[in-house]
Each structure stands twice: as C-alpha cells, then as structure tokens.
C-alpha cells in the first residue's frame, strides 16, 4: 500500500506541475462547454422565442391578402415586415440581402380574386353534393399557379424552412377556409356570415395534449444546458488522453523506466497509480463542469443545469465513464512510441469517437449501419446513460443497459493494456 500511495503522490505532483496539461484538462473543456451552450442557446432562442423576419411584398389590393398577412402573424413563427407594392422579384432578393432577412414572400396582384374564385368553386361543388343549386355566375378562369412565392436564403436550415413552409400553408388554408365558408353561408342563407359564428368556426384553437415521455412522467422541457453539459463533460473526460497518454509515453521512453524495471516492484503498481490519479482528475472535471452548469450558467444568461434525481446513478455513470477514459488513454500511451504520436492519434480518435458516439450528431439521426458503428464508441454509451439521467429522469436501473456495455469496453481496454505490457516485457 505504501508503494502505491507514494506512486500516487508522485503522479499527482507531476500532474500539478504540468500547467499545460492542467490547461488542456480543465480550462479548455470549460471554455468549450460555455461556448457551445451559448451558441446553441442562441439558436434555440431564435427558433423558440424570437420570430424569424419575413419580408412581404403585397401587390394585391383585396381582403384575402390582408387576411393572409394577419394569419401569418398569428402563426407566431414569423415577424412580417412589409415591402413596397411595386417591388420586382430582383428587388425582393436585394431587400433580403440589405435587411439580412432569410425569408420573403410576394403576394401577386390577383391573389384575392384567385382565392375568391377558388372558394366559389369549392362552395359550388359542396352545394352540388348537398343537392342544392350552386351559384350560376360565371367567374374568370385561372391557370393553376401557386398562390404566392416564397423566397428563402440557402443558409436557412432545411428543418427551419420546412417549419416556415408549414406555417405559411396553415395561414393560407385558414384564408381559403374562411372564403369557402362565407360563400357557402351566403349561397344557403343569402346573407353574410356573422363574424362571431365565423370566429367560432375557424378559430377553435384546440390545444394539443402534450405528455413528456420521461421516466418520471414530469413535464420538464429539455434545454441547451441539459443537452450540452453532459455531452461535453464526457468529451472533456476523454480528452485527458492528451495528458495521460503523454505521461505514459514519457515514462516509457525516459531513463526512469529503465530504472523502474530494475527495482523490486512490478510496473502494475505504476499503472494502477496512474489509473487512480487520472480517475480522480476525470471526477474533478465532471464536478467542475456540473457546478458551472448549476451556478455559473444562470449568471451569464444561460439555463441552469438540473442534476438528475438519482445522484447515486450519476456518480456510478461518471466513475465508469472516467475509468473508461483513463483506460483508453493508457492503452494509446502503451502503444505509442512518441508523445507526438500519442497526442496526435489520441486527439483525432477522441473526435472520431465523439462523432460516432452521438456527441456532435445525434445517434437517432444516423442511418442503420452507422447506428451500429456508434455502438462501438464508449462515448455513445456514456452519453445515453447521461441523457437517461439528465433528460429522461432515469434511475440506476434504467441506465444499467448503457453502463454494462461501457464497462465491457473498459475491460477490453484493460486487457489490451495488460497483454501489450506483457508482450513488451514491461510487467
């Protein structure tokens, strides 16, 4: 025990005197978590709270276009900014550039007339099917053309564009529905549809039932902090590879290793000491980053981190993740012959494992084959365990299914380390 204690003390002292290593292990991940969470939070706010600006060039003089603009405003996704009536398509494109707007629509001059004809046509068909006499007035025939044109910037994400398209379609359907209803009512009753009835029929505003499918059944809505802090904590823990693999390589290639081999102590003591020391580092990293999420984030305008209700499960998941990160770093260090080799391979491999593990692209968005590959990344299992705890309110029994594969991967790393040290006659 004394040998192990002295070795841990030695490793801690070397670690504390390596300022660059500490910077890489603590400061860099902290900056990363704050920056990524802030940027994603801004995007979430853009989509969730702020409205996207929409330039509207309304060439129409009728009521339908005004109703359409009013309906667009009510969708809640877009903020309408009017453009002059006489703008050409080129002028609209230029206005988008000048005003840094991602979206614009041009409502044609005959929009109300077209919508009126379309509504009359629909009403006539309905009356005919009811066995009533349709309106015999002949209306102008229109070619089937889109009711208005949406201009969008290619920068706009596809998912966001689909949301806007859905919102505009919904507003258009409301206008068309109203016109058809008015025509039908007039044809049957020969008087205008009363406004209170129109409102009752068109603006039912039935709320959709919402249930958060969490383990606890609570309605806690996920935010950027709950997503990012666990994910980047895992990344930071695995990023100790930069310091730990270098430490293993340095010891292996320096003169000190020759001496260690001639002493009556097995090098396994040295390996165990490194594992304990750096496991402590990973746990400290997690504590620092979680504390930042809880206490610092609200002070800088970011959503605060809510710790999972099952803290025992969180500690167990963090310890296994940390041990896996340490094992991976030592494995790379045992195989690498130079520090440059260890650091280069280590850093790139962690980024690849992060991508595979769903830290950068969600695993559920991956295609079949890639999803299977992601199971090979230890970061995937850590992330799933953390998401179960942080986002779904899971308990220890819920995350076992993720912790067992993570534990098995860790044991594989340990076996590889053992056999490589044995092969190199180092233990």
């Amino acid at each position: 025990m004394y040998k192990l204690w002295v070795t841990i003390k030695k490793d801690c002292k070397i670690l504390l005197r390596d300022r660059t290593g500490i910077l890489l292990m603590f400061v860099m991940p902290i900056i990363l978590v704050v920056v990524v969470t802030s940027i994603q939070n801004s995007t979430f706010q853009l989509i969730g709270k702020s409205k996207l600006p929409l330039l509207v060039c309304n060439k129409d003089t009728g009521q339908a276009s005004l109703q359409l603009i009013s309906a667009i405003n009510r969708v809640g996704l877009l903020k309408v900014s009017p453009l002059p009536k006489n703008e050409s398509p080129e002028d609209i494109k230029q206005a988008m550039k000048d005003k840094d707007a991602q979206l614009a629509i041009m409502i044609p001059a005959d929009f109300s007339e077209r919508e009126g004809a379309k509504a009359q046509n629909s009403a006539n068909k309905s009356l005919k099917s009811f066995g009533l006499q349709p309106d015999s007035t002949r209306h102008k025939a229109f070619l089937p053309e889109p009711p208005f044109t949406l201009y969008f910037s290619p920068i706009l994400q596809e998912s966001l564009r689909f949301s806007v398209q859905g919102g505009l379609t919904s507003a258009l359907q409301l206008v068309e529905g109203r016109e058809t209803l008015r025509k039908l009512y007039y044809a049957i009753n020969e008087k205008q549809l009363p406004p209170d009835l129109e409102n009752e029929m068109l603006n039912t505003q039935s709320a959709i039932g919402m249930v958060s499918v969490s383990k606890t059944g609570g309605l806690g809505l996920p935010n950027t902090t709950q997503h990012n802090v666990p994910a980047w904590t895992i990344f930071a823990m695995f990023f100790i590879i930069m310091s730990l693999s270098a430490s293993v390589v340095r010891e292996k290639t320096s003169g000190s290793f020759i001496r260690l081999k001639t002493l009556p102590t097995n090098y396994n003591v040295g390996m165990l000491s490194k594992q304990i020391t750096y496991l402590g580092v990973t746990l400290l990293q997690a504590m620092v980053i979680f504390s930042m999420g809880i206490y610092l984030f609200p002070l800088i305008g970011l959503p605060g981190l809510n710790l999972p209700s099952d803290l025992t499960a969180l500690v167990i998941a963090t310890v296994i993740t940390g041990w896996c990160a340490v094992s991976y770093a030592i494995m790379v260090g045992v195989f690498a012959t130079t520090q440059v080799q260890g650091n280069g391979f280590g850093a790139v491999s962690i980024v690849i494992l992060s991508v595979m593990g769903g830290l950068m692209v969600p695993s559920f968005a991956m295609q079949g084959g890639l999803r299977t590959v992601s199971n090979l990344s230890p970061l995937h299992w850590s992330l799933q365990a953390y998401y179960d705890l942080f986002l779904l309110g899971g308990k220890l029994s819920d995350v076992f299914v993720n912790l067992i594969p993570l534990f098995i991967i860790t044991l594989v790393f340990q076996l590889v380390i053992f056999f490589q040290l044995k092969r190199k006659n180092l233990i």
């Binding site: 004394y2 003390k9 030695k10 002292k13 000190s256 020759i258 260690l260 002493l263 009556p264 102590t265």
Partner: protein, 243 residues
C-alpha cells in the same frame, strides 16, 4: 555474478551483438568493463540487471537467476544508468522517496536514507528544487543516490561520471570507493580510463561482443607490456573510429 555462454541479438537484427560471452565477478569486487563505443558494454549491463534477457545462456547474481518473473533478486542490486533516470519535475528528495519505496524500503527507512544520501552527496541545500533545473553534476549525484538508496549488495554503474566537473567526479569516485570498502560489489563501465585505474581492481575489455582481455591492471600490463590502461586499450582495440 556469473555469466555463462550468453548470446544476445536485438529483435529484427541478424547479427548477434554478444556471442558466447563468459564472465565471473567475485563478491566484494570492484570490476571495470571497458570497450569502444558500440562494443556492447551497455547491452551487457542491461542483461546483467535483467532489463534485457539473453537469447542463449544464463546470468546469475548471488546465486539467483536473472530474467525470471520473480523480482526478489532486484532487491540485491542497484543500477545507475548512463541516462538520467529520475523524474525531472520532482525534487531530489521527492525522487529519492519515490524510488526508495519502489526499492522496497518502508516509510521510515526511506526518510532516513534520503536524508543520509542528500547529506553525503552535497544535495541538502537543493533537496526541494526540481531536479530538471539542476546542473549536470548535481543530476549525476541524484542519479547515483537513487541507485544506492536501498543499500544494495551489488551496484551496477554505467558511465556514472560522464559530463561532470573534476570536483563532482572526485566526490563520486570517493563515495564509490567507500561503498566498495564497506563490501558493496561494484560493476562499472566508463570511458574515463584514468579514473577507472584508481577505482577498479579487476577489469575486462570488450570488443565486438566478446571479452578480449580480463584480469587486474598489473596482470594485463605485464601480459601486453603496456604502462597504462589507455595504452592497453588502444593496442587491443585499435585507433579507428567505431561509431
């Protein structure tokens, strides 16, 4: 120490670096191993200390076979490698405490020996300074102190005075003589032949992986009719560069 018919080749090489080598060193001896660069001195030293294992043959130290998985024999000897073998980020005291524990000493004995060695080798005043910031001579003294922390019966020294000033060399050689007088067997390599003459009673010259001469300085001088070890060395190994 007995070395019997050993061969050694590095993995991936065809030629054996050491071939059919035999050597016997008596307990309490002060033995010098000399030879030109690339002759195989450091390899032989690594084989004697169990860092490397011979391809063929057997090495025994105080009756224990070297290169087995048991590390009991490692308590019996100390090793002072040619390269600085310590942690540059730690102080002299921290290094000695760490290596003392790994050499099998308990906390109390480690502290006692650390204090003794820091005093003997003139490192007391700088015991808390990082070794990486030491001068070459001070580093050599730390390197030596670590090798003897556990009072070994046999001490292997691979060029222990390379790159040091006269004062440090004198201090190191005096200390080694003292150790030998107290019963420690010294097995030593160096290119400092004048220094070796004062320290070693028995010596062997190695060249191209073979022992080419062995005996006391007097015996060798008589046999080869040379006045000094340096003359003997040149006459037996030639004047050509070897590296």
């Amino acid at each position: 120490m007995s070395i019997e018919h050993i061969d050694f080749r590095y993995p991936g090489t065809d030629a054996a670096l050491l071939s059919g080598l035999n050597l016997n060193i008596e307990k309490g001896e002060s033995f010098g191993l000399f030879g030109p660069n690339g002759a195989g001195k450091t390899t032989l030293m690594n084989l004697m200390t169990g860092v490397l294992n011979p391809s063929v043959g057997e090495i025994r130290l105080l009756g224990h076979k070297m290169g087995t998985s048991s590390k009991k024999v490692n308590r019996l000897f100390g090793f002072v490698p040619q390269d600085f073998s310590f942690y540059r980020e730690l102080s002299a005291m921290e290094n000695l405490e760490f290596y003392g524990a790994w050499a099998g000493l308990d906390r109390k004995r480690t502290k006692k020996r650390t204090a003794e060695l820091l005093s003997i080798l003139g490192l007391e005043d700088v015991k808390d300074k990082e070794v990486g910031k030491f001068s070459g001579g001070m580093k050599r003294r730390v390197n030596l102190a670590i090798g003897v922390i556990h009072n070994p019966s046999v001490l292997f020294l691979d060029e222990p005075t390379v790159g040091v000033d006269v004062q440090t060399r004198h201090a190191i050689i005096s200390y080694l003589k003292e150790l030998n007088d107290n019963g420690t067997t010294l097995i030593y390599t160096s290119h400092q032949l004048t220094e070796a003459e004062t320290l070693c009673r028995q010596m062997a010259l190695i060249d191209s992986g073979k022992i080419i001469a062995e005996g006391t300085l007097e015996e060798l001088s008589k046999k080869y009719k040379k006045k000094s070890l340096e003359e003997l060395f040149i006459s037996l190994t030639g004047k050509e560069f070897r590296d």
